[in-house]
Subunit: 262 residues, 4 copies
C-alpha cells in the first residue's frame, strides 16, 4: 500500500494522539491524485529495472576494481542501500514502490477482505512489470559494462544454509514493511527498507535476495551478483516461506486485533 492509502483507509482520527494526525514530512507523502494503473506499472517496471541495474552494475564495477571479495560485497551493499532508498522515496507515492512480487503478494493477501493494499487486478499488473523490469535492468547493467547482454549465471546458490538465509531475509523484510504499516509509519520506508537490506546483505548467508523478480533478473548475468538458473526456484520458494513467517511475526508483535478488542 502507499502512504496515501494508509492514510485514507487507516486508523486515522481515532484519537487526538494518533500518528496520522501528525504532519507527515517524510518520503511516501501523499500525491495530489491517485495515479492511474499505467503510471503505477511504469513505476514498478522502471524501479525494478533500476534496482537490478544497481545490484548487478555495482557488483561488476567492484570486481573490476578490487580482488578483495569482502570489499566487493561492501561496495555492492553500499550502492544498493543508497539506490534502493532513493527508488522507494521516488516511486513510493506513485505505486507504493514494491519492485518485489513477494511484497505485492503479501499486500494483496492481507487486503483481500478490505483494508489498504493492492487489488487482485493491480497485483496482476505489478508482478509482470516487476519481472520484465528486473530482466531489463540486468541487461542494462551488462551493456553499461561491456559484458554479454544475456549470459546465464554459473553461480550456484543451492546449499541448504543459503536457503535458510533467504527465509530469514524475506521474513525480516515483510515484518519491517507491515510493522511500519500497522503503526502508520510507512513514510519511513525509504530509509528503513534500504537500511534493512544493507544489513541483510551481510547477516544472511544468501546476501538477501528476498525478491523473486530480482532473483529472476540476476539469473541473466554471469557476473558477481548472478544466480544460476537452477538455483532460482529454490530461492523463490524460500522467499514465499519467508513471507508466511514474516506475516506470522507481524501478527505476533503488532497484533492486528488489538485496536479493536482493547
Amino acid at each position: 500500500m502507499t502512504a496515501t492509502e494508509a492514510t485514507q483507509h487507516g486508523r486515522t482520527g481515532e484519537s487526538p494522539i494518533a500518528p496520522a494526525a501528525e504532519p507527515q514530512p517524510a518520503p511516501g507523502a501523499t500525491p495530489p491524485r491517485r495515479p492511474p494503473l499505467l503510471a503505477k506499472a511504469a513505476a514498478e517496471l522502471v524501479g525494478a529495472a533500476a534496482l537490478v541495474a544497481i545490484v548487478v552494475g555495482s557488483g561488476i564495477q567492484a570486481t573490476e576494481l578490487t580482488k578483495d571479495v569482502g570489499l566487493q560485497l561492501l561496495a555492492n551493499s553500499t550502492a544498493t542501500v543508497f539506490g534502493l532508498g532513493v527508488l522507494i522515496a521516488l516511486f513510493g507515492p506513485v505505486s507504493g514502490a514494491h519492485f518485489n512480487p513477494a511484497v505485492t503478494l503479501a499486500e494483496w493477501w492481507t487486503a483481500r477482505r478490505g483494508g489498504p493494499g493492492v487489488t487482485l487486478r493491480e497485483a496482476a499488473v505489478y508482478v509482470p512489470a516487476q519481472i520484465v523490469g528486473a530482466v531489463a535492468g540486468s541487461v542494462l547493467a551488462d551493456a553499461m559494462f561491456g559484458e554479454p547482454l544475456v549470459k546465464w549465471s554459473t553461480h550456484d546458490r543451492s546449499a541448504g544454509h543459503l536457503l535458510l538465509g533467504e527465509v530469514v531475509a524475506t521474513a525480516g523484510l515483510i515484518l519491517l514493511i507491515f510493522g511500519l504499516a500497522r503503526t502508520d509509519r510507512l513514510r519511513f520506508a525509504p530509509v528503513a527498507v534500504a537500511s534493512y537490506i544493507g544489513a541483510a546483505y551481510w547477516f544472511t548467508s544468501s546476501t538477501s535476495f528476498a525478491n523473486p523478480a530480482v532473483t529472476i533478473g540476476r539469473a541473466f548475468t554471469d557476473t558477481f551478483a548472478g544466480i544460476a538458473p537452477a538455483s532460482v526456484a529454490g530461492f523463490i520458494g524460500m522467499q514465499l516461506v519467508g513471507v508466511v513467517v514474516g506475516l506470522a511475526l507481524v501478527a505476533l508483535v503488532f497484533m492486528p486485533g488489538r485496536e479493536v478488542t482493547e
Copy 2:
C-alpha cells in the same frame, strides 16, 4: 520508555515553545493503543534475536570474504548500524526497543518513584525475553552459515583496557538515551543509538558490546563476534558500572531538577 510514554508523562505543554508541542514525525511515534505486555515481550525477544543474528552473522560473512581484519570490523559495524537502527524504529512503538537489560534496568531505576519508564513487572519480563532472544539469535546466525549451532567461543576478552572500554561504551549509551529522553527527543533514538554504536565499535577497545543480553548470546558462537564464557561476567560487571557513570553524566549535563527549580 517509549516515545508515547515520554509524551504522556513528560513536560509537554509547559510552554508554547516546548518541544513536545511540535510535531513528532520521526521514529518512535505514538501507537494508537498501549501494547499489551505479551506484545512487548515478543518485541524484545524478536528484536534481541535479530540484533545478535546481525552482529554474529555479519561477522561470519566478513571473515569468510576477506582476510583484512579492519575490513571485517568495518563490515560488521556497518551492518550493525543499519540493522540496529531499523530494529529500534520498528519495535520502538511497541516495547521501547531496549533489547538490552542495562537500558531496562536504568529505566526502571530512574522511574521507580514515578515518571516514564518500565515498571518492575515489565522489567522482570523484558530481561529474560532479551536473554532468550539473544541466545536464539546467535544460534540462528550459526545455522544460516552452516556453523555448529552452539559452540562456546574461545575469544578471550578479559584484558583490563577492554574492561575500561566497556565502561565507556555503556556510559555513553546511557548518556545518549537518557539525554534524549530528558529533552523529549526519543524520536531520534533509531538513528542516534545506531550511529553511536557505529562509532563505539571503533573508538572503544572492546568494540562496544554495551549490552548484557548480547554479551551472553555472543558466548554461544565460536566466530568473529564471539566472547569466551569466562570473559562474560567481567564484561557485564563493567556494563553495570557504565550504567552508573552514564546516569551520573546525565545528572551533570541535563540536570533533572532544573525544570522544577528554575
Copy 3:
C-alpha cells in the same frame, strides 16, 4: 527550481491532503526573501567549486593512501555523498543548488511556458558560474595536495559502454529531481540526490559524472578523478541525451497532465 518556488507556483492548496499543505521541515526550506541574482550566482559558483574540490581532492587522498582501486573509489564516492548532500542542503534555499548545467537547462526547458524553474536570464548566469566554479575547485584540490595547479588529465574515458553509462547516470538524476519536484518533495533533495550519486558512482560504468561543469573541471587535473580533454565532449553530449531520456521518463511515470485531466 527551489523549494520556495515549488511552493509558490505549485499545486498547493488543491486538496486538503495535498502534500504542500503539510509542514516542510526538511532541507530546501523557504528563505525569508527571494535572494538576488548575485547571491544565486555566488552560491552556484562556490557550490560547484566545493563539489569538484571534494571529488578531485578525495580522489587524490585515496590514491595516496591505498593501492586498492576498489577502496579508492569507495573513499571517493563516500566523500562525495557526504559533501554533495551538505552542499545541496546549504545552498538550496539560495539558488536551488544545481551546480550542474544539465539540471539548469532542464529546469529552464520545463519552465519556459510558465511554472517553477529558472528563467533564461538566470540560466545564462548560472551556467558560466558553474563552469568557473568547477575549474576553480579542481585547481584548489590540486593546490591542497601539492599537485600542479593545472595539468590536463590523461585519463581516457571514451569507450562506448562508458558513454552509455553517462546517459543512464544523467537520465536517473533528472528523473529523480523532477520526480521529486512533481510530487512536491524537493525538500528531500539533499539526501536523495547525494544518495543517488553514491549509487551511480558504482552502478554506472562511467562512475557517473552526470554534470557538464564538473566534467570540464575534472579535465584540469591529472589525478584519480580526471578526464582527458579529448573525452569531455563525448561525456557532455551523452549527458544531454540523458536529460532528454530523463524528462521522457518523468512524463511517463509522473504524467504532468494527470492533475488537470483527471
Copy 4:
C-alpha cells in the same frame, strides 16, 4: 548559538512563509528552559572529550586491525561522522554543541553587537572547557587501548599544502554553520556538520582538524590521529584564517543585510 536562540532572536514571524513558522522536528530542538552556564560548560567539556576520544580511539583501533592506510582513514572518518553527529544532536539543546573554539569565537564575533550567539562571558567559559575536554579525551582513548596516557605525537604536519587544507576545512565548517543559522535551519546541524567533516577528512590534505581544541588534544597521543606539538601553532593559525574566510563567504552568499534592505 543554539536552535533555541535562533528561534528567539531570529527573523521568525516576518512572513507567513518564514521557515521558523514551520515545525522543527529535527535535532537541536528547543529545551524547556535555558540551561545554566554550568550545564553548558559540562556539555562542552564532555562533548569535546568524547569527540577526541572517538577520533583518537578509532584511529588506534584501525591501525591495530589493518595495514592499509586508506582503510584506516575510512574507519577513522566513518567513526567520526557517526560520533560527531550524535554529540551535536545530544548536546545541541544544552550548549549549542560547539566543542570548537573556532566556532565559539566566530559566534561571539558575529553576535557582539546583538543577535544570537554566545556572550563574552560564555565564550570565556566554553573555550577552556573545550580544551580541557579535548586533552582528557585523548588520554581516555590512550587508556582504553593500553597506550601510554600521555606521549607527545611525533607526527609532523607542517607542510604548506597541509596548512592550505586547514584553511579550506575551517572556512567550509564556518560557512556551513553560519549559512544554516542565517536560513534558520540549525536543526540540521547534527547531520550536516558530521557529513561535512566526513567529506573533509578526505578532500582536504590535512584530514580536516578544523578545531583548535581538538588540535591541542591530538598532540597528547603518539598514535594515528596525533599531531606533533611543533605543528600545533601552525594548524591553529590557519584555522583562524579559515574562520575569517568562512565568514566572508557567508557574507557573500547569505548577505546579512538582504532582509533589511530588500
